[in-house]
Point group: C2
Chain length 258, copies 2
């Protein structure tokens, strides 16, 4: 893009407007240009690429961030991006979408479940360069200052050079003080899986319920993978895409054609 | 798999237990082996890969289908698969998961939003060969008999040969009578996008609301793509995966490493 013109940056997340992560991301984005915010009005972790079809969605303008036009949205993170692009800011050119900073990792297969990353992917589908940022500390007290200079560097790079093809970066930040972050690695998505356990309980009316919990298990820590980078003190960047075709498998299946 | 042993097939969907599509899929699956069903207790279209984190989930055993153990689940399609694998049938070996038959297309980028396909992908993540079936007629009156022999053929192939690597097929069926279905094509996912429009209205309390609508626009109909196959009278099969890495972009971004 033309760096002489101030860029317009859309900020969103899945933790809602009052999460410290989005506050930090907005403060960083403001250094580059005009910031617009559309974020969910309630926590939307684990919403993946859900959209709201069977209900109406509400938008409310809020004055939470100085010099920033911001809206709360009753829908999912993907809804936020759709409404930003097609309703609220349909006459404006959005140069970049940044989503996060998520409180918790979205490395490996967690990109699939993540509202943060699905919002970023939706912007990429709308042809907007897009970056999802996630911090490996799940707490709202996470110290996100350590990563600030790196986040700035990544945004500056994308604004200057643009993203090719799939227009989407999945950035994860290790939970380390600044002095221990070793740098940035461009990675592929690691294999991993959730070992699910459900907490089983009985509610006050005597009905049984199940509550999702579990443990993430890394199944692959090759030195080119995001989990390896994070475990070794690096910020991981996985360029990601929405074409899910398994091209390798196409040949194997030709026997099914009739 | 050993074809002498009767396979166990998990059936799920995103339209709920009373959709004609799941009834048809169960009747087909029963020809092959033991059928287990876990499906949402309400329509979950557009839920993508959402999981239920902030609420408990309920399961209720239902007697809807003859000789079939079936449960209604208050969660998302992905929750259904997680509960099937890790709670309800954790001591059983599931040979195949089939999801659908969805009432509506999940070709092209619609795989991202689809609860049907996310349920199938979750099974693939759990190392279960998995097939999502979708019919391009959105109506509950869709005539799904035309595709029956093809669905049988695809299930038989997967049970016999197994699926490599990513273990996931996205099968879409054109809305045509049997005599006009030309065959099966193995395809890649087409480029496409939604041109969103939101219906804007005012509710009975005078508050404005937005309701998602819009039109799908094909942006690529190469003869190897799913949209081409469907438009030309073929059933499309896209082998799909959950590794979203854009490997081509990794090289371009090396300048960001520090």
């Amino acid at each position: 893009m033309d760096m002489k013109k101030k860029p317009t940056i859309l900020v969103t997340n899945d933790d809602g407007m009052f999460a410290p992560g989005i506050k930090k991301l907005i403060s960083i984005a403001k250094k580059f240009g005009t910031v617009l915010v559309v974020a969910p009005d309630s926590p939307q972790s684990g919403q993946g690429h859900a959209v709201t079809l069977s209900q109406p969605i509400r938008l409310h303008k809020v004055n939470v961030f100085e010099d920033v036009e911001a809206y709360e949205c009753s829908g999912t993170p993907v809804d936020c991006v759709k409404l930003a692009k097609n309703v609220l800011f349909k006459d404006r050119n959005i140069d970049l979408c940044v989503s996060g900073i998520n409180h918790g990792s979205n490395a490996s297969i967690n990109i699939l479940y993540s509202g943060t990353m699905s919002a970023a992917m939706e912007a990429a589908l709308e042809n907007i360069d897009s970056i999802g940022f996630s911090h490996m500390n799940y707490s709202f007290d996470a110290d996100m200052n350590a990563a600030e200079s790196y986040i700035e560097m990544i945004i500056a790079y994308v604004l200057e050079k643009g993203l090719s093809d799939s227009r989407l970066l999945n950035v994860n930040i290790p939970n380390l003080p600044a002095s221990e972050i070793k740098g940035i690695r461009i990675c592929r998505q690691s294999q991993g899986r959730w070992e699910e356990e459900f907490q089983v309980g009985t509610d006050p009316r005597g009905e049984r319920y199940y509550w999702l919990t579990g443990k993430f298990v890394a199944e692959d820590e090759g030195t080119d993978s995001d989990l390896w980078a994070l475990r070794n003190g690096y910020i991981s960047i996985v360029p990601s895409k929405y074409d899910l075709t398994d091209h390798k498998a196409i040949g194997h299946l030709k026997g099914l054609e009739i």
